[in-house]
C-alpha cells in the first residue's frame, strides 16, 4: 500500500505508467458519461420527430442570445483550463491558480445565467410535465419539450457543479504546492472532465436553442 505523503503509488511500477492509467481511467469514465446523456438526446430526437412544429415553437421561448453568452463563457473557461495544464507542466503554480480561478468565475457566471433563465421559465409557466402552464403551445409535445429542456440543462448544470468543485479542489492543491512540474496528473485529469462538460453544452445549445 502506498504511503499517504507521496503522490506516486508503488503498484503502478513507474510514474509514467501511473499517468497513463489515470488518463485511461478518466477517458473510460468520460465515455460512460457520454452514454448517460445519450438517453436524453435519443428522447429529444424521438419527440422532435413526433412533434416537429411544437418543438420549434417551444424553442422560441428560450433565450438564445443569453445562451450564446453562456457558450462563450464556457469555451473561454476551457481555454483557461488548457492554460492551467500548460502552466503546471512548467511548474508555475501561481499562474495555474490564477487561470483556474478565472475558469471557475466563468463557470459560476454560466450557472448564474442559467438560474436566471430558470426563474424566467418559472414565471412564464414553461415547466415540465404536470407543472406545465404555457397556454400558447399544446400540452402534448410542449410539456415534453420543457421536460427535456430541464432534464438536459439540469443534468448539465449538476455536472457543472461537480466540475466546479473539482476545479476548486485543484486550486487548493496547486496553492498548497501539491502539484509540480513532476506531478500534475490531477490537473490533467480534472481538466479533461471540465472539457467534457464544455462539449456537452456544445451539443445541448444548438439542439435546444438554435435548430428550427
Amino acid at each position: 500500500m502506498s504511503t499517504e505523503s507521496s503522490p506516486w503509488e508503488e503498484h503502478f511500477g513507474s510514474r509514467e505508467n501511473q499517468s497513463v492509467a489515470a488518463q485511461l481511467g478518466m477517458w473510460i469514465f468520460l465515455g460512460s458519461e457520454v452514454l448517460l446523456f445519450t438517453n436524453l438526446f435519443v428522447g429529444y430526437a424521438v419527440y422532435r420527430y413526433y412533434y416537429p412544429e411544437v418543438f420549434v415553437e417551444a424553442s422560441k421561448h428560450l433565450k438564445a442570445e443569453w445562451a450564446m453568452v453562456q457558450t462563450l463563457l464556457l469555451v473561454t473557461s476551457s481555454l483557461f483550463v488548457v492554460l492551467a495544464v500548460h502552466y503546471i507542466r512548467q511548474g508555475r503554480q501561481l499562474l495555474t491558480v490564477l487561470v483556474l480561478v478565472l475558469a471557475i468565475g466563468m463557470g459560476l457566471g454560466f450557472l448564474g445565467i442559467k438560474g436566471w433563465e430558470y426563474w424566467e421559465h418559472w414565471k412564464e409557466g414553461a415547466l415540465p410535465g404536470e407543472y406545465y402552464r404555457l397556454e400558447e403551445l399544446p400540452e402534448r409535445g410542449g410539456s415534453l419539450f420543457f421536460t427535456l429542456y430541464f432534464l438536459l440543462t439540469g443534468l448539465h448544470a449538476i455536472h457543472m457543479l461537480v466540475a466546479l468543485g473539482l476545479l476548486g479542489w485543484l486550486v487548493w492543491g496547486a496553492l498548497s504546492g501539491k502539484y509540480t512540474a513532476e506531478y500534475h496528473i490531477p490537473v490533467e485529469v480534472g481538466g479533461l472532465y471540465w472539457h467534457l462538460v464544455d462539449i456537452f453544452w456544445l451539443f445541448i445549445f444548438p439542439l435546444l436553442y438554435l435548430v428550427e
Partner: protein
C-alpha cells in the same frame, strides 16, 4: 491430499497480516474487497432465494396457498430485483474478478484501489436502499419497471429505482478499474496473447458495464423523475411514449445478460483447463468470441419487443442478430468440449459444475434461438417458456459458474480444502434440482401459462408441483454448501499451495496470497495452463 504439503503456505497472508475490523472495512487490498463482495452477493443470493421459495410454495395449488395476490406480485418483483442486480451482475466480476484478476496479471493491486473500495461501499449503499424499499412495502412492477404502470404504482418503487441506480455506479467503477488494470498493470512477460481467458471475459464484461450501465441509470432516473416530479416523459396523456422506455431499458438490460454470462464463461474456461490438464483448444477464438458476444449483444434489444407494435421488418432484423449470439456461444462450447476431449480428466466438484453449466447453457441457448424466432415468440411471449429460458441461460450459467469458481478458488482464497464427498452430493443435488425446477416451466409456457400470474388452471398443477419440488432440492443443496463451507473455514484440512496442480497463473502466488500478492515480481514464461512443460510449483 498430503497434509504435510500444507506447511508450505506463507506465514503472513492477506488474511492474517492485519486482523482488526477497521483493517477490513478500510482496506484497499483487492483480495479483501473481493471477499467482502463475496459475502455481500451471497447474502443477496440468500434473500433472492427466500423470495423464490415463497413464490414456488404459493404456486403449489391453483388458488391462494399462503399469500394474497398483491404479496405475490411484490414477491416476484423483489425476487427479480435482488437476483439480477444484487446477485448476478456483481457476483463473478466483483467477487472473483476482484480477487484473482490482478494476481493473474502479476499485479500488486488493481489500478485504482481507493475507487475499488468505494465501489464496494456504493454497492452496499445501493443494496441497503433497495432492501429498505422492499421492507417498506415492496414494489409490484416486476424487475423490469415497465412504464406507465411503474410511474403510478402505489407501492414504494422509488427507493428501489434509486437503489439500483446507485448500484450501477459500483458496476461502472469496477469495470473502469478492471479495464485500466488490464491495460497498465500486466507484469513482464504477460503479453496480450497470454492473458488468461477469465481475464479476457472480465475485460469484455467491463466494456459492456461501462457502456451500457449509464443508459440504465438514466432511464431509472427518468422513471423516478416521473414518479416524484410528474415529468411525464413516458406518459401517453402528455404525448410521451411508454415504448421508448422499453427501448432504453433493454438497450442496457439485454447486454446485462452478457454482464452475467460472460464472466461465468471465463470461470468455466479456467476450470475446464485445470481439470483436464490441457490448455484451451482455441485460445484466440475463445477470446474473440467473448467480444463477438459483447458486441452483438448491443444490437439485440428489440427481441424483447416483438409484440410491442414494432415493425415486422425491425423484428426480423433483431431476431437474426439475436441468433448470432448462438454462433459465438457455440464457439466457446465446442472449445470446452475439444479441451476435455483427450484430456487427463479429474472429475472434481468444480468440473461437475462445468458439466451442469454446459448442459444448461446448451439448452438455454437453443431455446434462445427459438424465442428469437418471431413467429414462435408470439406464441411464447410472456409465458413460462420465457421464464424457463432465461433461468436456464442466466441463472443456470451464473449459478453453476459461481459455484464452480467458489470451489475451485476456495483453497486459494482461504487456504482450506472443502470436504469432497459432501460437495459432490451438493453439486448433484443442485444440478438435478435446477433441471427439475425449470424443465416443467418450458412445458407450462408451451401450454400457455403466462408469467407473473397468481392463479392457473388445475390441469397445470402437476407441473407446478414438480417445479416446486425441484426448487426445494435446490434450497437443500445450497443449505448443504453453506454448512460445509463454513465448517471448512474452521475445521477444514489446510490446503497445499496449489491444491489442484493447476497451471493457472493465479497459483503463482501463495494460497492464501501474501498481502501484495507476490514476494517478488512474477515472470510469465509459458502460456497459461500449459501442462506440456515440466515445472515444479512456482511461488513468488
Amino acid at each position: 491430499m498430503n497434509p504435510a504439503a500444507g506447511s508450505n503456505q506463507p506465514a503472513v497472508t492477506y488474511l492474517n497480516h492485519e486482523t482488526t475490523v477497521a483493517s477490513w472495512l478500510l482496506t484497499r487490498d483487492h483480495k479483501r474487497i473481493g471477499v467482502m463482495f463475496l459475502v455481500g452477493v451471497i447474502f443477496a443470493l440468500l434473500l433472492g432465494g427466500i423470495f423464490a421459495m415463497a413464490l414456488r410454495i404459493e404456486l403449489l395449488t391453483p388458488g391462494p396457498t399462503v399469500m394474497g395476490p398483491m404479496t405475490y406480485n411484490r414477491m416476484f418483483t423483489l425476487h427479480g430485483v435482488t437476483m439480477v442486480w444484487l446477485f448476478m451482475i456483481p457476483a463473478i466480476p466483483s467477487a472473483f474478478g476482484n480477487f484473482v484478476l490482478p494476481i493473474m496479471l502479476g499485479a500488486k493491486d488493481v489500478a485504482f484501489p481507493r475507487l475499488n473500495l468505494a465501489s464496494f461501499y456504493i454497492y452496499l449503499a445501493g443494496s441497503m436502499l433497495t432492501v429498505f424499499g422492499m421492507l417498506w412495502s415492496g414494489a409490484d412492477t416486476g424487475w423490469t419497471f415497465y412504464t406507465p404502470y411503474s410511474t403510478v404504482s402505489p407501492t414504494t418503487v422509488t427507493p428501489i429505482l434509486l437503489g439500483v441506480f446507485i448500484i450501477g455506479f459500483s458496476t461502472i467503477i469496477t469495470g473502469l478499474n478492471f479495464i485500466t488494470t488490464v491495460h497498465t498493470l500486466r507484469a513482464p512477460g504477460m503479453h496480450w496473447t497470454r492473458i488468461p481467458l477469465f481475464v479476457w471475459t472480465i475485460y469484455g464484461t467491463s466494456v459492456i458495464q461501462v457502456v451500457a450501465t449509464p443508459v440504465l441509470g438514466m432511464v431509472l432516473l427518468l422513471v423516478t423523475a416521473e414518479r416524484v416530479l410528474g415529468m411525464g416523459i413516458f406518459d401517453p396523456s402528455r404525448g410521451g411514449d411508454p415504448v421508448l422506455f422499453q427501448h432504453m431499458f433493454w438497450f442496457y438490460s439485454h447486454p446485462a445478460v452478457y454482464i452475467m454470462v460472460l464472466p461465468a464463461m471465463g470461470v468455466i474456461t479456467e476450470v475446464v483447463c485445470a481439470y483436464s490438464r490441457k490448455n484451451i483448444f482455441g485460445y484466440k477464438m475463445v477470446a474473440a468470441s467473448t467480444f463477438g458476444i459483447a458486441f452483438v449483444g448491443f444490437f439485440t434489444w428489440g427481441h424483447h419487443m416483438f409484440v410491442s407494435g414494432q415493425s415486422t421488418f425491425g423484428s426480423g432484423i433483431f431476431g437474426v442478430l439475436s441468433m448470432l449470439v448462438a454462433i459465438f456461444t457455440a464457439i466457446k462450447i465446442f472449445n470446452w468440449v475439444a479441451t476435455l476431449y483427450g484430456g487427463s480428466i479429474d472429475l472434481k466438484v468444480p468440473l461437475l459444475y462445468v458439466l451442469g453449466f454446459i448442459f444448461l447453457l446448451m439448452f438455454g441457448g437453443m431455446t434462445g434461438v427459438a424465442v428469437a424466432t418471431t413467429s414462435l415468440d408470439v406464441h411464447w411471449h410472456d409465458t413460462y417458456f420465457v421464464v424457463a429460458h432465461f433461468h436456464y441461460i442466466m441463472v443456470g450459467a451464473v449459478l453453476m459458474a459461481f459455484l464452480a469458481g467458489l470451489h475451485y478458488w476456495w483453497p486459494k482464497m482461504f487456504g482450506k480444502l472443502y470436504p469432497e464427498r459432501w460437495s459432490f452430493l451438493a453439486a448433484m443435488t443442485i444440478i438435478f434440482g435446477f433441471i427439475v425446477t425449470f424443465l416443467p416451466q418450458f412445458l407450462l409456457g408451451n401450454m400457455g401459462m403466462p408469467r407473473r400470474y397468481y392463479e392457473y388452471p388445475r390441469e397445470m398443477q402437476w407441473l407446478h408441483v414438480l417445479s416446486t419440488a425441484g426448487a426445494s432440492l435446490l434450497a437443500f443443496g445450497f443449505g448443504l454448501i453453506a454448512i460445509y463451507l463454513l465448517w471448512s473455514l474452521r475445521y477444514g484440512e489446510e490446503a497445499p499451495m496449489n491444491a489442484w496442480g493447476s497451471r493457472g497463473y493465479e497459483w503463482y502466488s501463495g494460497s492464501p496470497p501474501v498481502p501484495h500478492n507476490f514476494t517478488e515480481a512474477p515472470r510469465f514464461e509459458r502460456e497459461v495452463h500449459d501442462y506440456t512443460v515440466v515445472e515444479g510449483p512456482r511461488v513468488y
